[in-house]
C-alpha cells in the first residue's frame, strides 16, 4: 500500500508508461524484444503490443533478445530489449559476448521485480536487484534508473548515444509505470 500512496500523494514520483513509450518511439526504436515482466506488464508491454508503430517480438528466453537485437543492428534497425532483472542475470553471458566484447548497441529496459521504488537499487530489499548496478559497472554497461517521470528524459539521448557509439545501455525501471489515464498496476506478480 505504501507504493500506491506515494504515487497518489507525490505526483513527482509517478512514472507514466505513456511517456516512456513516447520516448522509446522518439528514439527510433522499431522492434521491442520481450519476455513478460510484471513491473512493466501493464504500463509498457500491453501498450507496446497494441502500438502499430512498434513490432513486438515475444521470445522464449531473454538471451534470444541479445542475438536478435544484434542481427537487427547490422541492418541499421533499432531494437529495445524489455525484460525482468532475472532475465538480465540469466542472459549475462550473451550480454558479455555480444553487447560488451563485440560492442553492439544493445538497449535494455529492465524491470526491478519486488524492488522498493523508494530505495536506491543498491539498497533494495531484493538481493537480485542490489547486485545489478555493481554487475553493470564491472561490465562497463552504462545504466540509468527510470523511477519517476523526470527520469524519462534520459531515455532518448541514451539510446541515441548507444547507437552512435555502438555500446550497450540499460534502463532500470524502478516502479511500475502507470497506464495512461489510470493508476499504476500494483497487483503482486
Amino acid at each position: 500500500m505504501e507504493g500506491r500512496a506515494a504515487s497518489v500523494d507525490s505526483p513527482a514520483r509517478e512514472l507514466n508508461g505513456g511517456e516512456i513509450l513516447t520516448a522509446i518511439k522518439a528514439s527510433g526504436i522499431e522492434y521491442v524484444l520481450a519476455v513478460p515482466d510484471i513491473v512493466t506488464s501493464a504500463g509498457l508491454l500491453r501498450p507496446i503490443a497494441q502500438d502499430k508503430a512498434l513490432r513486438l517480438i515475444r521470445v522464449c528466453k531473454e538471451d534470444e533478445c541479445i542475438g536478435i537485437a544484434s542481427g537487427l543492428s547490422y541492418c541499421d534497425k533499432r531494437a529495445l530489449v524489455l525484460i525482468q532483472y532475472t532475465g538480465f542475470l540469466d542472459s549475462l553471458n550473451a550480454i558479455r559476448g555480444v553487447a560488451v566484447e563485440y560492442k553492439q548497441p544493445i538497449c535494455m529496459m529492465v524491470g526491478l521485480l519486488a524492488h522498493d521504488p523508494e530505495k536506491a537499487p543498491r539498497q533494495s530489499p531484493k538481493y537480485g536487484v542490489r547486485i545489478l548496478e555493481p554487475i553493470m559497472d564491472d561490465m562497463g554497461i552504462v545504466h540509468h534508473l527510470i523511477n519517476e517521470n523526470a527520469h524519462v528524459a534520459k531515455i532518448q539521448p541514451a539510446i541515441e548515444k548507444a547507437y552512435s557509439e555502438s555500446l550497450p545501455v540499460a534502463f532500470l525501471i524502478g516502479r511500475r509505470p502507470s497506464i495512461d489515464g489510470g493508476q499504476s498496476d500494483d497487483e503482486e506478480g
Binding site: 542475438g67 555480444v98 563485440y102
Partner: protein
C-alpha cells in the same frame, strides 16, 4: 552418414548473396569452403546463432539468411525454434549439423544423441522441416530447401569431424564484422 564439410561444399554452390550465420565447427568448415564478407561468424555466446539469424532476417526481408548451427548450439537455444516459427520470416533457412557431439568442446556427446530436431522444428511451426543423411539426396534437394518460403529447417546428419583447428581470433576478428556490415549494406 554424411560429412559436414562435404555438405557445405554442395551448399556453397547454391549460395549467392545470402547472409550466412555460422559458428564453431560449422564456421570452421564453412569458412574453409566459402570465405566471403557475407559470413556472420561472431555470435558472442553459444546457442545464439539462430537468434542472430532471426534478427538479420527481420532486418533484411529482401535477403535470404542461412543459419548453419551445431546440434549442441541449438540445444542451448531450443526456444528460438518457437520464436522463429512465431515470427515466421519467409527468408530464413536454418540448418543444424547433427553430429551428436559437442565437437568444439572436446567431442563429448550431447545429452540425447537421437533428439529429433526436425520434428521439434516442425511442431514448433516451421513452414517446412527436412532431414538428410545421404549426400546424394542432399545434393538433389538442397536447391529446393533454399528456395522455398521459410522459415525452413533441415537437419544434416553428419559424422564428427577429425580434429579441427579453431582459429577464434580470426573468426571473431572485428574487421570481419565490419566487412559483413559493409557487404550487407552494399547489397541493399
Amino acid at each position: 552418414m554424411m560429412k559436414r564439410d562435404e555438405c557445405f561444399r554442395i551448399l556453397a554452390r547454391h549460395i549467392k548473396d545470402e547472409a550466412v550465420v555460422a559458428t564453431y565447427s560449422s564456421a570452421v568448415d564453412w569458412v574453409g569452403v566459402a570465405p566471403r564478407p557475407l559470413n556472420y561468424l561472431s555470435i558472442g555466446a553459444m546457442g545464439l546463432d539462430s537468434s542472430h539469424g532471426l534478427g538479420l532476417a527481420l532486418g533484411r526481408p529482401d535477403r535470404r539468411v542461412v543459419v548453419l548451427q551445431g546440434d549442441g548450439s541449438l540445444l542451448m537455444n531450443l526456444g528460438s525454434l518457437v520464436t522463429i516459427a512465431a515470427v515466421a520470416p519467409r527468408n530464413l533457412v536454418h540448418f543444424v549439423a547433427h553430429n551428436e557431439t559437442y565437437e568444439a568442446n572436446g567431442g563429448h556427446p550431447i545429452p540425447n544423441r537421437k533428439v529429433d530436431f526436425a520434428g521439434i522444428a516442425r511442431s514448433a511451426g516451421y513452414a517446412a522441416a527436412y532431414e538428410f543423411s545421404d549426400l546424394r539426396i542432399f545434393e538433389q534437394q538442397v536447391a529446393h530447401v533454399l528456395e522455398q518460403e521459410g522459415p525452413v529447417f533441415a537437419t544434416l546428419h553428419v559424422e564428427p569431424s577429425k580434429p579441427l583447428k579453431y582459429d577464434y581470433p580470426s573468426l571473431y576478428d572485428p574487421a570481419k564484422r565490419k566487412a559483413f556490415k559493409a557487404a550487407l549494406q552494399a547489397h541493399s
